[in-house]
């Protein structure tokens, strides 16, 4: 996994609640057996005027000019502002894969759906929960000033606004360590292989029907 430490990035606003994973990456693209290449189909139904198909060349497709990420001022955005319950719905990890492949490294919102939130950390994507009024203020500033950027520091757990105001955020220490170092979860877990084997051996005796 790509480590994440600091980022000073352009911000794009996704100003709607309950953005679901079907919207983030529609089902037809889930037929891929790869982990990469989902970026061009991020928010496909909102982003293009036609219906996208897997394997298609997306460069000539008609863009929806109304869609926020198609507006020139947000080109190259690496931080996405979101509203409540972003990432709800399916467990598809294709959603963080698509966001990451598109170029996002940080998501900032008042709340995220559980499975999606978890999936982000496995892919070098940092989802940050802030209080609703802090998120409101970021939306207002972002809408109001072109080229709006935020500086995110995971080590310090801070977001610095262009006006100098510093917002602190919480993140699980274990997740933070993994993300800062780009650690592979599996390798970390396998350090406890003996403990897993012991647990399993006891379970096999206590509930043998689970090992039929």
């Amino acid at each position: 996994m790509k480590p994440f430490q600091k980022l000073d990035g352009l911000v794009a606003p996704m100003d709607r609640a309950n953005v679901d994973t079907d919207a983030i990456i529609p089902k037809q693209f889930l037929k891929s057996i790869k982990r990469s290449g989902f970026g061009p189909n991020l928010f496909d139904e909102w982003r293009y005027m036609d219906v996208g198909q897997p394997g298609q060349d997306n460069s000539g497709r008609p863009l929806n000019p109304e869609f926020v990420l198609n507006q020139p001022r947000y080109k190259g955005a690496e931080i996405l502002l979101t509203r409540d319950n972003f990432g709800c719905g399916s467990s598809r990890e294709h959603a963080p894969w698509a966001l990451e492949d598109f170029g996002f490294r940080v998501l900032i919102g008042p709340s995220f759906a559980d499975i999606f939130f978890n999936n982000c950390f496995k892919n070098g994507l940092l989802p940050i929960k802030l209080a609703a009024d802090e998120v409101d203020a970021l939306f207002a500033q972002c809408h109001g000033s072109e080229g709006y950027r935020l500086a995110v520091d995971l080590q310090a757990r801070t977001i610095t606004r262009p006006d100098g105001k510093v917002l602190a955020f919480d993140v699980d220490p274990f997740r933070r360590e993994c993300l800062l170092n780009g650690w592979d979860d599996i390798g970390l877990t396998l350090r406890h292989a003996d403990k897993i084997r012991d647990f399993e051996a006891k379970r096999r005796i206590a509930q043998p029907w689970l090992f039929a």
């Binding site: 919207a23 037929k31 139904e45 467990s91 963080p96 759906a113 892919n123």
Partner: protein, 469 residues
């Protein structure tokens, strides 16, 4: 000892290791696998030169991409076919306790075949790269959906990294009215607490109305716990749980069965156990439900109207409602019962079990699909459900009503196969998500119970199933 909730019992019996910040390694007993969220995990395992930790924990099937008709032609879409064939070859290489591939007589939706084969047992931890894994909590399992990285993690280590959830009790007491089902209960719950109401919680469903439900009904409720934001839903073990599991292919037998049942009987929240949140509903007040918007919380009773966004004070919510009404092609204040439908879908991991098909058939019997309804798809959840329905003659009832009787699979719940809505088409669906484009780009989904879906099919619009008797 302190009184424990069911969740706490399941959690503490699976903890292998705890990090300083409370992140725990929990042991996984059952790993359900399907073709969409597993290929990258198998590939990752192979690239890292790792072997699966315990192959006999894996039960696999192909369900999302499989067609529901003309099985003799195979899977026509080459991209879908490649995904299913990739699962075939991965399982061939790695192994599994059981694999029910495309066309196998016990193939079906992963959340239907687990329980019906006794591969889901009380006290287990169950995971699958699929958010509707919460379904299995109906058997007092700690069951939840995971991402593909976690699929790979479970394959490699038999464990999952998890933080303990908070606990929520949803108590539904009282008697359900005639024609009101498990689906209506869970839609009413989501309408009450919202799609993020359960975020961070494991929800235990309890109360006399939940106890009165069959295992099928309890699965419907737990299935949609994720639509309330909760990764896991739970129902305590009782006689119905034990009776359901007796004699299933992977259920224990003989002395092991007796020992298992003794243990399973302990899987309930203790008297006086404390929950972090409690929600109470009166079952007698729940009416048949119909969603009107693009989130499951946008739901109304059949005698209600499409709400008016102008009355909503929260600007983000108001815009969401306006956007939903525009997408759904609906006007505020339209009576729900006046909304016509183009298609009807009866199926999905929420509502494709035998009881669901019986409920739909009861309404369809002796009636005909309305002329304005283009298609009524009935898709059983598994090969076993299909055969049972045919043994009961339900297929004949559906065919006589002008409905289509299909082969099992996920089908038009998410439209990864050929079954889908065309832009602008409106569907009464027994599935679980009414998101934009979920059943096909531009399609409009209204979530309902199987009986209500059949009622819409025969009347051509949403109709109160209680008045169709």
């Amino acid at each position: 000892m302190q009184a424990q909730t069911l969740y706490e019992k399941l959690w503490s019996s699976h903890v292998v290791h705890v990090e300083d910040d409370g992140t725990a390694l929990i042991y996984i007993d059952r790993h359900l696998v399907h073709e969409v969220t597993s290929p990258q995990a198998f590939e990752g395992l192979k690239l890292a030169g790792r072997k699966p930790w315990r192959v006999d924990s894996i039960v696999a099937t192909a369900d999302h991409n499989t067609p529901t008709d003309h099985w003799e032609k195979g899977i026509l879409d080459p991209v879908s076919r490649q995904q299913v064939e990739t699962l075939d070859s991965n399982i061939r290489e790695v192994g599994a306790l059981a694999y029910f591939p495309f066309k196998n007589e016990r193939q079906g939706i992963v959340h239907v075949i687990g329980p019906e084969n006794g591969a889901t047992l009380p006290g287990m931890t169950v995971v699958c790269g699929d958010s509707h894994t919460s379904t299995h909590g109906a058997f007092a399992c700690l069951a939840h959906g995971i991402g593909t990285s976690e699929v790979e993690h479970v394959m490699a280590t038999q464990c999952l990294l998890q933080k303990k959830s908070r606990t929520m009790l949803i108590q539904v007491d009282g008697e359900l009215g005639a024609g009101v089902t498990a689906k209506d209960i869970v839609l009413a719950i989501i309408g009450r607490i919202g799609t993020a109401g359960g975020t961070g919680y494991a929800i235990e469903f309890a109360g006399s109305a939940i106890r009165s439900l069959s295992m099928e009904g309890r699965m419907t409720i737990c299935n949609m716990a994720i639509e309330a934001g909760a990764r896991a839903g739970l129902v305590a073990v009782d006689d119905k749980t034990v009776d359901y599991l007796k004699g299933r292919p992977f259920s224990p037998t003989g002395e092991a069965w007796e020992r298992a049942v003794d243990y399973w009987r302990t899987l309930h929240s203790d008297e006086g156990a404390q929950f972090d949140a409690v929600v109470e509903l009166d079952a007698a007040k729940i009416l048949p439900q119909v969603t009107w918007g693009t989130s499951p919380e946008m739901v109304a009773a059949i005698d209600g109207i499409v709400p008016d966004p102008a009355l909503e004070s929260d600007p983000v919510k108001r815009e969401g409602m306006e956007r939903a009404l525009q997408y759904m092609g609906l006007k505020a204040r339209t009576p729900i019962a006046e909304i016509p439908v183009d298609k009807v879908f009866i199926g999905s991991c929420t509502n494709s079990r035998i009881e669901d098909l019986r409920a739909a058939a009861e309404v369809a019997k002796g009636r005909r699909k309305a002329d304005n309804v283009k298609l009524v798809l009935v898709v059983p959840g598994s090969g076993l459900v299909k055969r049972q329905a045919e043994a009961e003659g339900l297929d004949k009832v559906f065919l006589a009503a002008g409905f289509e009787w299909r082969e099992p699979g996920c089908s038009m719940c998410l439209a990864m196969n050929a079954d889908r809505l065309e832009p602008g088409e409106r569907c009464a669906s027994t599935s679980n998500r009414n998101f934009e484009g979920r059943q096909g780009a531009g399609g409009r989904t209204h979530l309902v119970s199987p009986a209500m879906a059949a009622a819409a099919a025969v009347t051509g619009h949403f109709a109160d199933v209680r008045t169709l008797a």
